[in-house]
């Protein structure tokens, strides 16, 4: 049993990685990015293309792909999300839903339906493991992923609380109008936040490709996991996201113990239980589901 718990916690690191960008974008820009999973898969394909075509190790490839993802985030915010956000809270959801369809099918057209993986390009790392006391074997990749999640969430937390740019981003997320009045360029802060969110998505895509296989339509399940982890952890809270990822992964592992097919069900059940507890204790009922903090536009 302790083995399952350890593996579950480590898997939670991956979920935290993929949920981090979704949660960050929601908390800072009030945008639920439904193209989140597809963008992660896009990053995985970019790394795979660099590796298979130019023999660039995926870890080195990140040096190219992460800046690219940051640029994509900036452009998306400036030219798509910022405009659609002016049309209300619902429009960005529809826009990113459409974007997900475009990305999925563009990847399908370019790379076909074959299942790919980055595992062949990272040597023995994909199956190597360490033996921990109590004859528990933990995958090296799983440990790296967990460490990456902790470093990334901790780094983001420090960035948001300790740096001038981080404060600007937080101020913009609280009140963009007043942020402008104290000298913060709210448009720039939002675009920067989107760029940061996309860097985390790029990293999550890399680990997705290394730990498993992917095809052009892998984005939707990744979005679902990210969404569940973010909601369990409380959307907008960075350390909560790590906790949410761990809870989701533990529930899935437990589900798989109960029944071989119980992996996904376990996660969904945990998600629904947390959701219903939240709704019943918040006193908002079902309206709490869509409790998007209204922005003043005076």
């Amino acid at each position: 049993m302790s083995n399952q718990i350890v593996q579950g916690i480590l898997l939670g690191g991956y979920y935290a990685l993929i949920a981090c960008g979704l949660s960050f974008m929601f908390s800072v820009m009030r945008i639920i990015n439904l193209a989140h999973g597809s963008l992660a898969v896009f990053s995985a394909y970019a790394l795979w293309w660099l590796a298979s075509r130019f023999h660039i190790s995926p870890f080195v490839g990140l040096l190219i792909v992460l800046p690219l993802m940051a640029a994509i985030g900036w452009v998306l915010q400036r030219f798509l999300l910022e405009r659609s956000a002016r049309g209300g809270a619902l429009l960005p959801i529809l826009t990113t839903f459409g974007l997900a369809i475009v990305i999925d099918n563009a990847l399908f057209e370019q790379f076909g339906a074959d299942t790919r993986s980055l595992a062949p390009y990272i040597g023995s790392l994909s199956y190597d493991s360490w033996e921990w006391p109590g004859s528990i074997y933990v995958g090296k990749l799983a440990v790296i992923m967990f460490a990456a999640a902790v470093v990334m969430l901790g780094g983001l937390q420090l960035f948001l609380t300790r740096t001038r740019l981080g404060r600007s981003i937080r101020a913009t997320s609280e009140d963009p109008d007043t942020a402008g009045l104290v000298g913060v360029d709210a448009r720039r802060a939002s675009a920067l936040a989107a760029a940061i969110a996309m860097v985390t998505v790029g990293l999550a895509g890399a680990f997705l490709g290394m730990r498993a296989t992917f095809d052009p339509y892998t984005g939707a399940p990744q979005l679902l996991f990210a969404f569940e982890a973010a909601v369990i952890g409380g959307a907008g809270s960075l350390w909560g996201t790590l906790l949410g990822g761990i809870v989701l992964a533990l529930a899935q592992t437990l589900g798989a113990q109960v029944h071989p097919q119980g992996f996904l069900i376990g996660g969904h059940v945990a998600f629904l239980i947390v959701l219903f507890i939240r709704l019943s204790t918040s006193g908002l009922g079902l309206r709490g589901l869509v409790r998007l903090p209204a922005r003043k536009t005076t």
Binding site: R164, R167, S168, R170, A171, E174, D175, D177, T178, A179, G180, L181, V182, G183, V184, D185, A186
Partner: protein, 242 residues
């Protein structure tokens, strides 16, 4: 040359014309008081000067340069800072973080967190408290301090006494007096007529989006301002029911 000049400014909220062709100017070091009833357009005028609200017509000139199209965050860098009505602090952030945000524009000057805390000693023990948990007076001090952190040449104060007890208002104005005597140019909106007349060099009374009365505060009688405030000056006294 005047530090700030506003020429025929028209500002709308959708269909409502809140400011209708206002012109005035203010010299460096002057203090201008804006008075007027609720809805006269004072707040909208200040927000248009700060760049938070784009005017439909007219010009805003700072030191002779046209800044009408300049967004608010750049105007802070040019030395225009607004203390907004209702304070508008970032309530999830601490006093110190709110003050530091005021420095974003990076104008050189001698305002620092320490100096703000010296000016408003009531903030000292609250430095690391979230501003959502502060009293009204502490919040107002933080809001003024945040604006000062940008080292403004022109400070716009929108109803700094709103929602504060008379005692706290006295304290806030005592700290403002220091600023006024140090030569900062100030435009302030104030509902208390006596206070507005006593701290300012010049007073403008607005009525329904227009300037109803303008003149030096010294020698301006309360009666004159009251008449302009209610729009009594436009008609002959006889036509207005007493």
């Amino acid at each position: 040359m005047s530090l700030l000049a506003v020429e025929n400014l028209v500002v709308r909220h959708g269909l409502l014309q809140a400011v209708r062709g206002v012109s005035f100017s203010i010299e460096r070091g002057e203090t201008l008081a804006l008075v007027g009833a609720n809805g006269a357009g004072k707040t909208t005028l200040l927000r248009a000067i700060a760049g938070a609200h784009q005017p439909t017509a007219g010009r805003v000139l700072l030191d002779g340069a046209d800044i009408t199209g300049v967004p608010s965050h750049k105007r802070v860098g040019m030395g225009v800072a607004l203390v907004p009505e209702g304070r508008k602090l970032f309530v999830q952030m601490t006093v110190e973080e709110n003050l530091l945000l005021g420095k974003t524009a990076g104008r050189p000057g001698d305002w620092s967190v320490e100096r703000v805390l010296d000016t408003f000693p009531n903030l000292k023990p609250r430095r690391h408290a979230k501003t959502g948990h502060l009293s009204g007076g502490e919040q107002q001090a933080t809001a003024i301090g945040r604006a000062l952190m940008s080292n403004p040449e022109l400070l716009l104060l929108d109803e700094v006494s709103l929602g504060l007890s008379p005692l706290v208002v006295d304290r806030v104005y005592a700290s403002l007096q220091g600023l006024i005597s140090s030569g900062t140019t100030i435009i302030l909106v104030e509902q208390d007529l006596n206070r507005a007349l006593s701290v300012s060099d010049k007073v403008i009374c607005m009525l329904e989006g227009r300037v109803a009365l303008e003149g030096p505060s010294k020698g301006m009688s309360r009666d004159e301002v009251t008449k302009a405030y209610f729009g009594l000056h436009r008609k002959s006294a006889g036509s207005v029911p007493a």
